[in-house]
């Protein structure tokens, strides 16, 4: 779908991202895994075009992506936002569908899958963290871009909701939608992702399927029973 090449972002003297490179393949669920403060959100904000990069570029079909191409290729769903707090969920969904010319035909299905029907008439500001997360995920899934970047899509969800959301995301990925999910809970990541990008201290520490990463970790003499062990070995 595109390659990120040598992305670098600094906040004054602090380097938040250092020469970050990886690739995203069409239709996959790619997980960005890293501890708190590792640069996951910064990377997503740069990819989403809401934060400027200091260096590096996104490349598609061998050429740098323009801002317009990026806007029509990926949609970034930030974490910890309460957009249009005094508007209802129903209206927020209608607005984003109309404003971005989203996938109206999927509206009812997404509402049902994320179980936000009972929340439609509530204002976004009145929702709990988990409810708001599901409402915003609905917006993200309804956007027309072929790729969705979701920052911490499971944050605030209970176990059952996490499983349901994971299943929903997988379902749309199977239907051709590319997902790039920033996740700090490794168990959540293992449940939903096809491939992983491991990030720590603003640098990429590994990229690939579980098997590829496990092999990489094993070469360093680490035990590789699950993703947690692999992650700890590589970061």
């Amino acid at each position: 779908m595109f390659q990120a090449r040598n992305l670098t972002k600094r906040y004054g003297r602090l380097t938040a991202l250092s020469d970050v490179s990886f690739s995203v393949r069409p239709g996959e669920v790619l997980g960005l895994i890293g501890p708190n403060g590792s640069g996951k959100t910064t990377l997503f904000e740069c990819l989403g075009g809401v934060l400027p990069l200091d260096a590096g570029s996104l490349v598609q079909h061998g050429r740098p992506m323009s801002d317009r191409a990026r806007a029509s290729t990926l949609f970034y769903l930030p974490d910890s936002i309460v957009p249009w707090p005094e508007q209802s969920v129903r209206w927020a969904i209608d607005f984003t569908l109309g404003f971005f010319h989203g996938r109206v035909s999927l509206r009812e299905e997404v509402v049902q899958r994320l179980d936000i029907g009972p929340l439609l008439d509530a204002t976004i500001g009145s929702l709990s963290k988990g409810q708001r997360k599901r409402a915003l995920l609905a917006i993200g899934l309804l956007m027309p871009q072929p790729m969705l970047l979701a920052d911490e899509p499971f944050d605030g969800l209970d176990l059952r909701q996490s499983r349901d959301v994971a299943e929903t995301l997988r379902s749309y990925a199977s239907a051709g939608r590319t997902m790039f999910l920033s996740i700090h809970q490794i168990k959540d990541a293992a449940r939903v992702c096809d491939r992983f990008v491991l990030i720590s201290g603003g640098s990429i520490r590994g990229e690939g399927t579980f098997e590829q990463l496990a092999s990489q970790a094993a070469s360093r003499g680490a035990t590789t029973g699950d993703l947690e062990e692999v992650f700890l070995a590589l970061t």
């Binding site: 069409p26 669920v29 400027p52 109309g98 051709g176």
Partner: protein, 467 residues
Amino acid sequence: MRSPNDSEETGETAKTAESFSGSAISAPSAVSSFRWLLAKEYRELVASRAWWVLLLAMGPLVGVTFISAVRTYGEASGLNGTTAGVGEAFSPLIGIWAPTFSACEVAAVFLLPFVAIRLVSGDRQSGALKIEMQHPMPAFVRIAAKAIVLLGAWLTASLAPLGAALLWRSYGGSIYPPELMTVVLGHVLNAGLTIALASAAAALTEHPSTAAILTLSVTVGTWILNFIAAVQGGIWERLAGYTPPAMVAQFQHGLIRMDVVVVTLALVIAGLAFAAIWLRLGVSVRRRVQESMALAAVAVLAVVSGGAARPSWDLSENRMNSFPEADEQALGRIRAPLGIEVHLAPEDPRRADLDRKAIAKLRRVLPALHVQYVSATSIGLFEQNAPHYGEIWYELGGKKEMSRATTAESALETIYDLAGVKPPIENDDVFRGHPLAVAPKGAAAVFYGIWPALVVVSAFFIRRRQV
């Protein structure tokens, strides 16, 4: 680990598989997206308490000024105001509309900025901006949508003073639509300036309170500029002519000056463009600074060239900004440049008198007019005995003549004398005004009772219907 094929597909997701697999979406219809954005800005406006407070306050503000103006007008009219020469006192423009619409000036300075800041900063604070800015729509178009809605909000608030016009009419008062519309235009432009300034401040700063402080600082800055202009004169006086209070004052006298309109519009567009630049969070700060500097250069160019525009239209019923038509025709025949050297200090009341009664009117009919002010001090109090102080020198076609009078008649007489033009015959058709001795009946009920009640009820139902 899961693979893409592990999950169960619903019929619908399978159907949409093809539509997801494309590499890029087509550009959304700009017009349709803009309509959605306008609708969203409207909903955000009516959801904001700041807007309803502005609307609520407009009633009592207009009520106080209108009732006071009608009483004063009535008292003066009761003292027999039909004598020629006092017509200006019985012009509704000066007696009623200027004070009544001054409520708009107060609201534009102290209330409207908060409504505008709320609308611009709200998106940033809530995170909605991060979603909306992913639309390829230019940032200027997005800020323009906010400005359009805010202007609509201001026009809605202007229903209060327009209600005063209806009341005035019901009392039997005279309304001269061109001059009333001129006052309204002045306040709309003033609101535009406030919206642009507040938007720029809100886009530049992280927090709404910082934006509010910045906006009020600029407003206080214009007051300081006016003060300096009054003391120093010169270039400061020229600059102060484009501050909101000075701009509104022109319109309140029924005068539309092209330079004031062009400069105001240039500042409004520059303010909104500045806001658009700083709302593009995805662009580096360095580039935004560079773009801001380029914008400032273009704005200065527009202001300087706009400031040179000469046309003006006196739409006051009593032509208070113009010489009598016969004099204007006579002056129009003078082609040579006229120089006036005024030896009066900026704060000398005679200078203000001369400016208002003669020079401002001369500027409108004599394109080649050059005025120079000469004084050693700002107040002139200790210059009274200085040689030449108080003298006004007129120079035309190589001839010079001195006068000490500051009236329009004296200035015209001197100019005609220098130009060798025969003064036109005085016209006895003097504006006698529209005296009206009437009490502001019902105004208190309308502005202190009905208006606030309507606003509260509207707020309740509109906000409830929205959710």
